[in-house]
Structure formats: C-alpha cells, structure tokens
Symmetry: C2
Subunit: 323 residues, 2 copies
C-alpha cells in the first residue's frame, strides 16, 4: 500500500507541476478546471504500476500517465456535451459552465496535448501509436453508445463490445503504455493488456450495479440515474433475458418513459423487477468471471509474485475484492 500511495502522490505532484495555462484563457481555463478536479487517477495509476512492475524509470512513465489522464478528461468533456450531462464530480460540466463551442475546442486541445505528453519519453513513437489506436476505439465505443439510445433492441454481445471499446481498452492501454515505457517484452505486454480488458469489463459492470445498488451517496451521481435516463445497461439487458413475457413488456414500456414521468416511482418498479429476477446476482456472476480471467493473465506475466504485488493489490481494490 505504501508504494501505491507514493505513486499516487508522485502523479499528483507531476500533474500540479504541469502548466495548463495559456492564451486565450477561454480555451485553457476549462482544461485546468477539468483535469485538476480530484479524480481516482485510475489510468495513470495502472500505467505507473505496470511500469514499476517491470522496473521502468518512473520519471519516464509519468509522461504517458499524464497523457492518459489528459486523454481521459478530453473524453469526459466531449461525452458530457453529447450526454447533455449538467454535472460531473459534483461540479458543472464544461459545456454547461461555459458553452458547447468551448467544450468542443478545449477538448480538442486536450487530445492534442495528450499526444504531446505521450511523445516525451524515448519510446514516444510507440506510446503515441498506442494512444491513437485507443482514441479511435473509444470514439467507436461512444458512437455505439449513442446508437443504443435510439436502437430498439440491443443484444448483450453488442453491449459488451460497447463497454469494451468505451471503458476496457483504455485501462488495457494504460497498462500497455506503462509496460512499454519500461521496455517489457511483447508477450508480457500482451498478457497485461488482456488483464486490463477483463478488469475493465468487470469495472464497468460494477459501475452499472453501483448506479442502482450503491449504499453510499456517490457525489455527483443520482441513485438509479441509468434507469431514469432509460440507459440500456447490462442490468437491463440481463433482466430482459431472464424475464417472463409480462415482465419483459413492462420493462420495455418503463424504459420508453420520458424524464417528466415520476422518476422515483419508475426506479422503484424497475428495481423490484430486477430483484425478483435476481439480476444483481446474475451480473455479479459475470463480473466475477471477468475478474477470474483478468487475474489469469496477470498470473501469466513472466515476473515474480513479489514484483506483481503492487499492481495486484491495486487491481484487487478496484475489483472490490478487498476494501
């Protein structure tokens, strides 16, 4: 845990040292506003831990870590325009606080900055190539997500492919970039990448569950927000699969209601159907299967257990095995 805390602190210091100021201020203020908000720094941490595992130079790995965090925040700024999200992390989103034009442009500038950061280490060309690949995949995932809003029936494989592209590939790339900066060999990088994919899938399914079943009030997120927004998450798709004809029809009906409907009542009714069908348990089983596959790939990395321990501890915290 000491190592994890130290890397978190190192990244926080590196980020604080980075100059996000510039002219015109309308372009740069939203960048600093977004990236300096407190966040989990999940992607930089995966990058730094993968790098540390292979004995890489932390000073080199801080650049791709910064690239990943900058890139991730660019996706948030643009996604919030498309999702018309008024709040994030308990603060007004950029397009809401400024306007959509500024949100588009400052997002674009962040994407360019992410490449600038990724190019700094001596493996810069390879790191930037990895970043451009994941950037395109994430655009594909976001477009699939947008398509799902208007699509009548989304299948479970389609949903899984969407979250793979929208969430999992970036966690996998974070590990890949950290290991690349450390000069790890291809087979190990490949295992680490797969570890990230399955960890990411599990992570997103957990997010879907927490949206409805979280005890704590998550700051800036509504309880059952996905249901209120008619989001076809894994919970919903699994429920459709498990439901009787009658429940299925009712669920489909509930998920066409507009926001002006009584939100609380709708969330309660959907949850009662989910509970009756044991949807939460079914999704948790899928999650555990992704976790199992993830750690199989971590096991396959050709390093001693001692070297893997920090990344393992961090990933176990993420996947909720330890608190």
């Amino acid at each position: 845990m000491e190592k994890i805390k130290q890397l978190q602190q190192d990244f926080a210091d590196f980020l604080a040292k980075t100059d996000f100021n510039g002219q015109p201020k309308e372009l740069y203020e939203p960048i600093a506003y977004t990236i300096l908000q407190s966040g989990k720094r999940l992607r930089p941490m995966l990058c730094l831990l993968a790098n540390e595992m292979f004995g890489g130079d932390e000073q080199e790995a801080l650049w791709p870590a910064l690239a990943l965090e900058t890139f991730h925040n660019f996706t948030l700024i643009h996604d919030d325009i498309m999702d018309k999200a008024p709040m994030r992390r308990g603060m007004p989103t950029v397009y809401q606080k400024w306007n959509a034009d500024i949100a588009i442009l400052s997002g674009d500038a962040m994407l360019a900055k992410a490449f600038q950061f990724a190019l700094k280490p001596k493996q810069g060309a390879e790191l930037a190539q990895q970043l451009s690949k994941v950037a395109i995949e994430i655009c594909e995932g976001q477009q699939m997500d947008l398509n799902f809003e208007t699509l009548g029936n989304v299948t479970i494989p389609e949903y899984l492919e969407m979250i793979r592209l929208k969430t999992a590939v970036l966690l996998a790339t974070a590990l890949q970039m950290g290991a690349t900066a450390a000069g790890a060999d291809e087979t190990d990088i490949h295992h680490l990448y797969n570890f990230g994919i399955n960890l990411g899938m599990s992570f997103q399914l957990q997010d879907d569950i927490l949206d409805l079943y979280s005890d704590v009030k998550v700051f800036g997120k509504r309880h059952g927000g996905d249901i209120a927004d008619n989001k076809k998450t894994y919970l919903y798709l699994k429920a459709l699969e498990l439901a009787s004809e009658r429940d299925r029809k009712r669920l489909q009906q509930l998920f066409t209601l507009r926001i002006d409907h009584d939100e609380e009542e709708k969330i309660e009714e959907v949850q009662s159907i989910y509970d009756r069908l044991h949807v939460k348990e079914a999704v948790e089983a899928v999650m555990l299967e992704y976790d199992r596959k993830a750690f199989e790939d971590l096991d396959a990395v050709s390093l001693t257990e001692e070297k893997k321990k920090h990344l393992r501890t961090y990933a176990e915290m993420l996947s909720g095995r330890k608190k």
Copy 2:
C-alpha cells in the same frame, strides 16, 4: 508543372487507397464523406513539395501529407459546428447532414487518425510532435476567432495573430513536416517554416478580399458572406482605421445588423464605403509585403534554384502571381 501535377495525382491515389471504412458506420461515413470531397489538397502539396525539394522519399512523405489533410478536415468538421455553417464545398456540412454529436465524434476520430498517419515514417515521433504543436495552436486561433464575434473592438494585431494561428501555422507545419521527413537541416526547416507563415498570412488576406471582390462565383460560398455574417476581417478592420468618424460609426452600425436585415443592401453599402477608402488596395499592399517576406525565406534555403523551382512555382500560383 509536370512535377506538381504528378504529386497531386500521387496524393489523390494514396488517399483513394486509404481505408476510411469501419464500424459503427455512423462514425466512419462522415469521415470518408469529408476527406474524399474534392479539395485543393494544399497542405499535402506543400508537404510533398518541401520533401521533394530536399530529395526525400516520396513514399515516406505521403504519410505526413495524409496526416495533414486528415487533420485539416477534422478542423473543418468541428469549425462548421461552431460556425453553424450549413454548406461547405457545395455540400451539406457533417453536423447538418448527420448531427452535432456525430460531427464531434467523427472529428475526434479524424484527429486521432491524423496522428496515426504522422507516426508511420521513421521520423514519426518528430512529425507527431509537430502535428500536436500545430493542433494546439489552431485551437487557440479558433478560440480567438470565436471571441472576436462578441468582442466590441478587435485590433489589427489581434486579427493578424488569429489568422497566423488559424491558417498560417498549418501551412508552415506542412512544409516543416515534408522537410523533416526528408531529413533537412534545422536552419533550412526554420526558413521553410517562416516561408509558410508569411505565405499563409498572404493567403488568408487574399481569402478575405476574394470573399467580396471575387468575379467568379465560388462554389459553396456566398458573395460578401463575411459582411453578411458581421465577420471582422482584415478588410473591415483596415476600413475602420482609414475611415472618417462618420464612416466608422456607420460601418460599426452595419456590422451589428442581424441576418434578417436586407443582406444585399448591406453588402452593397459596406462595399461602397470600402471602395471609397481604397481598402482593397490597402489590404493588397499588406498582402504583397507578406509575399515579399515569404520569398525572402525561400531564397535563404540552402539549395539550388533548380531544386526549389517546383515549390516556388506552386507558391507563386497560390499567392496569385501567376495563373
């Protein structure tokens, strides 16, 4: 001229060979739709000509040329959202034909693709670094342009800085990337970059003039569109500088009229003030000064006249010295 035509054809072939298809189609169709429209291919041409000048490998230079064209088209897609432009090159813009979300996302994917292309040659890291620098500058220029819309008074130096960032730096970078791919030395690249800056300034001022004083009907562009849109171009700012108190007030008044006003009448009145003040001639004088400075830097490049001749011919065509 043969060489110029050959490079144009080579780029057209390279572009035609590039696969812009992918899934989901909502993301990829707008990309192919935009980049495969006929265009001047100005930036790829500057890149290829600079490369050819230094005896670089054309096959290597086609990658940064493609990166530049992809990048340029990304800026068009995002700018059209912000400018609410319904048409471009005589075709509906992406946000108009599809929607703003798709225009944001397919633009993002193009920016990522541009980096992927720039990274292909062996000097990939350097080329991508140059691309990321210019990408940030162009965001700054576009933000300045957006600011000018609501700003009461824009000064001529501010306007020049805006067009430097929004237009000139990309032409300069196109030359820089071509020369970099050819392994040219730093001093020569520096001269070529400055050549591009001044050429770009002249090019944009010419654009400002052509908007109002073009004889031919430019496809997809309205005569006097800048005046109708109250765009504070160099013509307008120069007119304010040269005008009597009375003309200045009238111009400022005319440039606050909304679109519902009689457009033709407004354009005519503004043009009659410009003509009385000889604004066109004043702007042409500034343009010529930029051209002069541009070619000074081309002269300073340490190559024989013979080697520079294709780029010189192309640039002279651009700056309107030959037809």
